[in-house]
């Protein structure tokens, strides 16, 4: 049975570093599938106007389409052309929780993410997605600096 890596992308530099490291790891493992995941930050407990609610379904489709074409598909295409077995997934939710949930669902062996690009005040109070993932993940997590 092949190993499975989940690579969390964020559409920025740290995600690309995670991707590069994931490739290296996959080559070392040999028989390895890669699942590229992009999580759109979203919470069911936010406050919205009635108009936003009415358009929510449409916006969600748009967000998924943008994330798929701009982030996930290029990454999967790159991995495939490099000779890896790769698939992609886009989902809404809390970044740390959702990455972990997807990894568990897909029986992954490890999660690879980039070091958080967030900083400053909000990450001091709420913690970054990366540190949340490290603290709560149900499997090994590699954080790429």
């Amino acid at each position: 049975m092949p190993s499975k890596l989940v690579i969390g992308l964020d559409g920025a530099g740290s995600g690309n570093r995670a991707l590069d490291y994931g490739k290296k790891l996959a080559s070392l493992i040999g028989d390895c599938e890669i699942l590229v995941v992009y999580v759109i930050e979203w919470s069911p407990f936010t406050f919205q106007t009635a108009e936003e609610n009415a358009q929510r379904h449409k916006r969600r489709e748009e967000e998924i389409a943008v994330a798929t074409t701009r982030v996930v598909e290029p990454a999967v295409a790159q991995l495939t052309s490099d000779g890896f077995t790769a698939t992609g997934k886009v989902r809404h939710g809390d970044v740390a929780e959702t990455l972990n949930a997807i990894a568990v669902e897909n029986k992954a062996d490890q999660i690879v993410v980039g070091r958080s690009s967030e900083g400053g005040f909000s990450s001091r109070i709420f913690g970054s997605s990366t540190s949340n993932l490290v603290m709560h993940a149900s499997m090994p997590v590699t954080v790429v600096g």
Binding site: W42, P44, A54, H57, K58, E61, G93, T98
Partner: protein, 517 residues
């Protein structure tokens, strides 16, 4: 205060219309508008608020309470049986993780609440307790508990018969369930009811959802900053609302939507602090509420007076049966329309049973209402229309004084809260009005823009002028929505019961189960 506002209104309107030199003529114009308006709308207003012969009890209040009682009985105390389930739904226990990113039950409920929690909870309750005494609180709570069943009925239908468009947007509300639901049952007249409802909804949105809010917000601001022309407040409000609903500047609405719940929590928190500090008086306060509910404790109209005030203010505050909530709740993502009905049960509970009761308890415990030491009854003011208060204040000022007796600086927070509540209510009602407008005139950029511009103009008028008849008329329009809506609900409630029976059976059999998150 009232005459002051009216005086200012004339001047303000004049400045808006032409030059200050024409103020005198504008004043008469203002009066003329009032007169003409009153002539045309007077019969409608008197009809809606007409009391039962020989009593002071407005039939419209009875209409709402009877409907709420009928729905409570018909759905077998749905508000009790499914209360726990409603909480689970809001927590997201039954939400499919694959639907993440869609409108959640919590979001639909929060949006609906931001439309109803507002001046009714702060000023309306003070009016109820000020006139009807502490006993009004008892009837208010009862009306809130019964109103949960009305919300359940209309919100289930709102989701069931909403329109889902190919571009992914949704539109729902009484106009859709009236036309589609009546068609489904093979009944005639659904379309006519839908058109009638839409007309009243537009008028209600411009009036109670707009002019009244702008007017009261200005009253609060000028109460702190000192008197200044209302049109200034109106223009600022209109500018901000315009930026949000026409300019699409979401950040303002987003900020408000985040601050308003915080204000609500702050308000309840402050009330709780006052109650905790005076915990030894809570028993006494509930004693006053129960005694007042059945004896009146000397208020005008006795216990019937307390009952009328309690029922009336609860209806004004939680809008159960009015149909507005059915529009707000309809965007939720769910395969089971009835789940949103269960969630909407919580709305009158939070709005009326929790927040309104907090306000009432603080007013009673702060002893702003004067009690005759000898008889233990409340002392009436000189006119004999309301209970005498410590500073002779009423309405929002009474609430303010009551909170100030516990937390001296709270009136400033309250003023900010009132302004924000007014703003969020305006944003909500602009949407309700728009949905009714597009139902009548079709969806399209031009049609929508027309309504939005009209809406903003009415903000300026509302803040500038205390056009009594116009305000009366708009309140009447909101209640007229309830006349049409509840009439339709009586025919459609069997469709809801069908859903309820099917859903409870599947819930019991385990076919509907929680998702593990």
């Amino acid at each position: 205060m009232k005459t002051n506002i009216r005086h200012l209104a004339g001047g303000a309107l004049a400045t808006v219309l032409a030059s200050p030199a024409l103020a005198q003529e504008a004043q008469t114009l203002d009066q003329r508008v009032n007169e003409i308006f009153a002539q045309f709308t007077g019969p409608f207003v008197s009809f809606i608020f007409a009391p039962f012969p020989g009593t002071a009890f407005p039939w419209i209040v009875m209409w709402l309470v009877i409907a709420a009682t009928v729905f409570t009985v018909y759905f077998g105390l749905v508000q009790v049986r499914f209360f726990g389930h409603a909480i689970s739904l809001v927590k997201g226990d039954y939400s499919d993780p694959n639907d993440a990113g869609e409108v959640s039950h919590f979001q639909a409920l929060a949006t609906a609440l931001s439309g109803t929690v507002g001046l009714g909870n702060i000023a309306g309750v003070a009016v109820a307790v000020g006139i009807g005494g502490p006993g009004a609180t008892f009837w208010m709570i009862l009306a809130g508990l019964l109103g949960m069943a009305s919300k359940f009925t209309e919100c289930t239908l709102g989701v069931k018969y909403r329109n889902e468009y190919p571009d992914g947007t949704v539109s729902g509300g009484p106009m859709y369930y009236m036309s589609k639901g009546f068609d489904e049952l093979g009944l005639p007249g659904g379309k006519i009811l839908a058109v009638l409802f839409s007309i009243f909804c537009i008028l209600g949105a411009l009036g109670g959802g707009n002019m009244f809010q702008a007017n009261q917000a200005h009253a609060q601001i000028s109460g702190i900053l000192g008197d200044y022309p209302g049109w200034i407040t109106g223009l600022i409000f209109a500018g901000v609302v315009f930026a949000v609903i026409v300019g699409g500047i979401k950040s303002i609405a987003n900020v408000t939507e985040k601050v308003v719940p915080f204000m609500g929590i702050l308000y309840v928190g402050a009330a709780l602090i006052i109650l905790i500090v005076n915990f030894d008086m809570i028993g006494w306060a509930f004693g006053q509420i129960f005694a007042g509910a059945f004896t009146g404790l000397g208020v005008a109209g006795g216990f019937v007076g307390a009952l009328i005030q309690g029922f009336k203010r609860a209806a004004f505050s939680n809008e159960a049966g009015v149909g507005s909530a059915a529009i707000a709740h309809s965007a939720v993502k769910t395969k089971e329309p009835i789940t949103e009905g269960f969630v909407s049960l919580l709305e009158p509970l939070i709005d009326t049973v929790v927040i309104c009761t907090m306000t009432a308890l603080v007013i009673v415990i702060s002893q702003q209402l004067i009690i005759d030491e000898v008889t233990g009854n409340y002392v009436l003011n000189e006119a004999g229309t309301a209970i005498a208060t410590v500073g002779g204040v009423s309405g929002v000022e009474l609430t303010s004084a009551a909170f100030a007796s516990g937390i001296s600086w709270f009136p400033y927070v309250l003023a900010v809260a009132v302004v924000l509540f007014a703003f969020s209510t305006m944003i909500s009602w602009s949407y309700y009005g728009l949905k009714a407008w597009t139902y009548l005139f079709g969806e399209g950029k031009g049609s929508e823009l027309t309504f939005k511009v009209i809406f903003c103009i009415f903000i300026v008028i509302g803040a500038a002028a205390s056009l009594g008849p116009v305000i009366d008329f708009s309140d009447a329009a909101i209640f007229a929505m309830a006349v049409v809506n509840i009439f339709a609900l009586y025919f459609l409630m069997k469709l809801v019961r069908r859903e309820l029976e099917s859903y409870s059976a599947r819930l019991k059999s385990g076919e509907i189960k929680k998702f593990s998150h």
